[in-house]
């Protein structure tokens, strides 16, 4: 079973990397780009076979390590 964890900076937390990407896109002529936010995608291979149990385990991983709740939000997707 595979899990994907998307970690994003919370709304309102400054994202200097996203802003730099946005400026670079503008310099390349992509005029229609508004705000850019950069996050992380973490892919996990899991031994678990039960989808609900896998999701609960990955949520616990997010709370303990993968995301920092002060500045980030996360979402977990489980794939068979």
């Amino acid at each position: 079973m595979k899990a994907k964890v998307h970690v994003r900076l919370k709304d309102g937390v400054l994202d200097p990397q996203g802003a730099a990407i946005g400026r670079a896109l503008g310099q390349l002529g992509f005029g229609g780009v508004g705000e850019v936010r950069q996050g992380k995608l973490i892919e996990l291979d899991l031994k678990a076979t039960d989808q609900a149990a896998a999701k609960a385990e990955v949520e616990a991983m997010c709370q303990k390590l993968l995301a920092n709740p002060v500045i980030e939000t996360y979402s977990v997707t489980i794939e068979a």
């Binding site: 900076l9 937390v13 400054l14 200097p16 990397q17 730099a20 303990k64 390590l65 993968l66 920092n68 002060v70 500045i71």
Partner: protein
């Protein structure tokens, strides 16, 4: 004063911190991150560096090192804990000080002397400073941009827990914050490096009063 300096994989200011403490008169024990017990200590120092290569988030993986369980326990028991630079990031990740440190607003590594106002002298770390006299201490970081929500900022202000503010903000930190105390004022996290300004041979001594003050308060 018995001081412990913890080395994580990627710490690089551990020796400097130990030397600054020794020059102030402390007995220093060097500790490895994988240890699961602490000796009897009056002060624990989490030094600067790039623990675990700053993977995931700065300080995030080191904050889960075996020794950190004991550091959290010691902090809760009132032992003084000082986190410098990567050590500050680590304290934030471990929840011993509020907020978080993200990439500098200018996206550049900033390595220079900065002027600081000592905002609160009500602590074992800052009692030897004069709040009317700004100090000059080096910073060297890429992720020193302190963030916290408005409610937390208000709490820090109301409880006089902002230790240092930048006079010319180098990284975008909210409210120019360079260092904050934990809830009991016995934990200090700061981005500037007082251990790099503790000996005239390295260009300045404005960091030395912190180590001398700790020595006086904790011996």
């Amino acid at each position: 004063m018995q001081a412990g300096v913890i080395t994580f994989p990627g710490s690089n200011c551990d020796r400097d911190a130990a030397v600054a403490l020794q020059q102030a008169g402390a007995a220093v024990t060097r500790l490895w991150h994988a240890e699961t017990e602490l000796p009897r200590l009056d002060l624990i120092v989490l030094p600067g560096g790039f623990s675990y290569g700053d993977y995931l988030r700065c300080g995030a993986i080191a904050a889960k090192a075996p020794i950190m369980r004991e550091v959290v326990r010691a902090a809760e028991a009132g032992i003084a804990v000082l986190g410098i630079c990567n050590g500050f990031q680590l304290l934030a990740e471990a929840g011993l000080v509020p907020g978080a440190l993200i990439a500098n607003a200018g996206l550049k590594f900033v390595c220079r002397e900065v002027g600081l106002d000592v905002v609160s002298t009500d602590s074992v770390f800052t009692a030897n400073y004069d709040p009317a006299k700004p100090i000059s201490i080096p910073v060297a970081h890429h992720d020193g941009n302190y963030v916290c929500d408005e409610e937390e900022l208000q709490r820090l202000e109301d409880e006089d827990r902002i230790a240092f503010r930048y006079r010319d903000n180098p990284n975008g930190s909210v409210a120019d914050i360079a260092g904050v105390f934990g809830p009991g004022r016995k934990v200090l996290g700061l981005m500037p490096h007082p251990e790099r300004a503790a000996d005239p041979a390295t260009g300045g001594t404005d960091g030395a009063p912190m180590f001398k003050g700790l020595m006086e308060a904790l011996s």
